[in-house]
């Protein structure tokens, strides 16, 4: 597989966008936790649920401001929703930024109404009718849809970064999941902070929030590991880059280099195809050694890896002094001693 290679320019998304990712994540995560507390929590959890819905809307407020401030033409923010060239809707489901703009709008509505309901329950009786509607089945449905949108707002930002041609971002698909898990972790931590600062929150609620926070953090750690693994597999991390062993051949005509990922290359200065790739071994190449010089016989190259493998290549120099590509890998001996595996390779 060819390692991923990128020549894209950076988009220059800086503090406004970072701020949006942070507050958008807190908002979406808080709404989801509010819904969980409301639908599966105890009666004592309901105070915390109200705090979650209020926190969700307050965290959402700076988001559109940050996003609009980041635009080069802030007054054209409506172009995200309406196509300025034909007056129709600007809706491209395959563009995360387009989909996210609509999701943010929809989530804003759900978060606002739930906020008003929570404020009413906290004692602002002018909004009691809304609180009453949100209490029944309608309220449960409202919370579930709002949670879906909240999850989307928390996670699509990661997908947006991946749906690009930027190095690292676009080399791993789990970024959406990482952002979503992070929004849950951050929101749980925020609610825990708020709960601890208030006396009217049930101690059991605090314990359950801490437990949820731990669960979310474990999920986030696992996803970060998966993300790093996918980026490594794409070849952006831990690729050839690091040379761990070098050896000049007899007479200095050839140079062998070993790499961290177990690859060995033979270089022949002055030739077009100066590298001769050799099959990777199981682990970092720790040392390389050439066999004694011989007038016209085959050259020997040996490599030892950190994993304990030893490999020997027989390199036949053809007329015209060209080295060729590796063509066969033969395992000749397997031993359980100090040298677990001996590979014998032949180059023509």
């Amino acid at each position: 597989m060819t390692p991923a290679e990128h020549f894209a320019a950076p988009p220059g998304w800086e503090w406004w966008i970072l701020g949006y990712f942070f507050f958008g994540g807190l908002s979406g995560g808080s709404y989801a936790i509010g819904t969980l507390l409301r639908l599966v929590g105890t009666a004592a959890d309901q105070r915390a649920a109200r705090i979650a819905f209020i926190a969700s809307f307050l965290a959402l407020l700076p988001c559109p401001i940050f996003l609009i401030a980041d635009l080069g033409q802030p007054l054209r923010f409506v172009n995200m929703l309406f196509d300025a060239s034909n007056g129709g809707l600007a809706f491209k489901p395959w563009s995360p930024m387009s989909l996210g703009s609509w999701a943010l709008l929809g989530f804003g509505l759900f978060s606002f109404v739930s906020f008003v309901g929570a404020v009413a329950e906290s004692g602002w009786h002018a909004a009691d009718p809304i609180a009453r509607i949100l209490r029944g089945t309608v309220g449960a449905v409202w919370n579930v849809i709002g949670t879906g949108l909240g999850f989307f707002v928390g996670g699509y930002t990661g997908v947006l970064l991946a749906v690009s041609n930027q190095p690292v971002w676009s080399d791993g698909w789990p970024l959406g999941g990482v952002f979503l898990a992070s929004s849950l972790t951050g929101a749980a931590a925020l609610l825990l902070l708020l709960a601890n600062s208030r006396r009217d929150i049930d101690a059991g609620t605090t314990v359950r929030l801490a437990l949820a926070d731990r669960n979310f953090a474990l999920l986030e750690i696992a996803l970060i590991a998966v993300f790093v693994a996918t980026v490594a597999l794409a070849g952006t991390l831990l690729s050839l880059g690091v040379t761990t062993a070098l050896a000049f051949g007899p007479g200095g005509g050839l140079l062998a280099t070993g790499y961290r990922n177990g690859m060995v290359h033979i270089w022949k200065p002055g030739e077009h195809d100066q590298t001769v790739g050799v099959q990777p071994l199981d682990g970092q190449i720790d040392s390389l050694a050439w066999g004694p010089p011989s007038a016209d016989g085959p050259l020997l190259l040996a490599a030892a890896t950190a994993a304990g493998s030893l490999a020997v290549w027989v390199i036949e120099q053809r007329a015209g002094n060209r080295t060729g590509a590796a063509n066969s890998a033969e395992r000749v001996r397997r031993d359980s001693g100090n040298i677990p595996t001996l590979y014998l390779h032949k180059l023509r």
Partner: protein, 271 residues
Amino acid sequence: MGFFTDTSICIGCKACEVACKEWNQLEGNEPSLLLDSFDNTGQLDAQNWRHVEFIEHIPDNNGVVMTPTPIAGGQAWLMMSDVCKHCQNASCLEVCPTNAIVRTEFDTVLIQQDVCNGCRDCIAACPYGVIGFNEKTGTAHKCTLCYDRLQNGMQPACAKACPTESIKFGYLDDLQKVADQRLSALQTAGYKKAELYGRDATVYGGLNAFFLLMDKPEVYKLPNAQNAVLPSRNNLAGYAGGFVTAVIGLVAGVLAFRSNRMNGGTSDDAR
């Protein structure tokens, strides 16, 4: 319509850059010297819609060519007038949330300046680093393939100015024929590594501005066919990963919030 840029006859005079800036009234960036290179333009961006790239395979102070090239005994100056590729499947057009980026009646890719709101998603998407952000207009800019000149029956400024006809402008069919002839002539002459980039559909469905290269695409900072991928490749897996995470997150949350009910939790009349 499109460009065929034949790098084998580019002499690095930068007339294309000058003509482009003149016609499109680009101010240019602050001058800078890249010290050991004749390439002092640096990159394509909002002010540079043509960029003559210099790839200098020349001996260093010890007489060693660090990255030998396949032609001329390993030593060569490769020059290439880089430009927006006007891809058939364009990454920038794909992600643009405002529909500011469109395909024109000339089959070129254009950023409508009165629609663009400067979100810069296209910059993150373009695999060639072509698009730049102009602080003054607050919008994204790139080569328009001289849209205004085309509408008035003129050829793009860079192609008109190019003294060696390294930059050729015309209908794609004609350009492809010329390119095929030129490639076979070069290969007959022994330039085995010469290749066409973007002439067929292997790179973004074909490039309306395609190239004849004297070395591998990567040498010219162009992704090879395996790495020429669209941003949308990550849509499905990205959202699926998010969905699975949401489900696991919900389960994790339900487990946490139900945990104390059995042993001494308060009564269960929620709400």
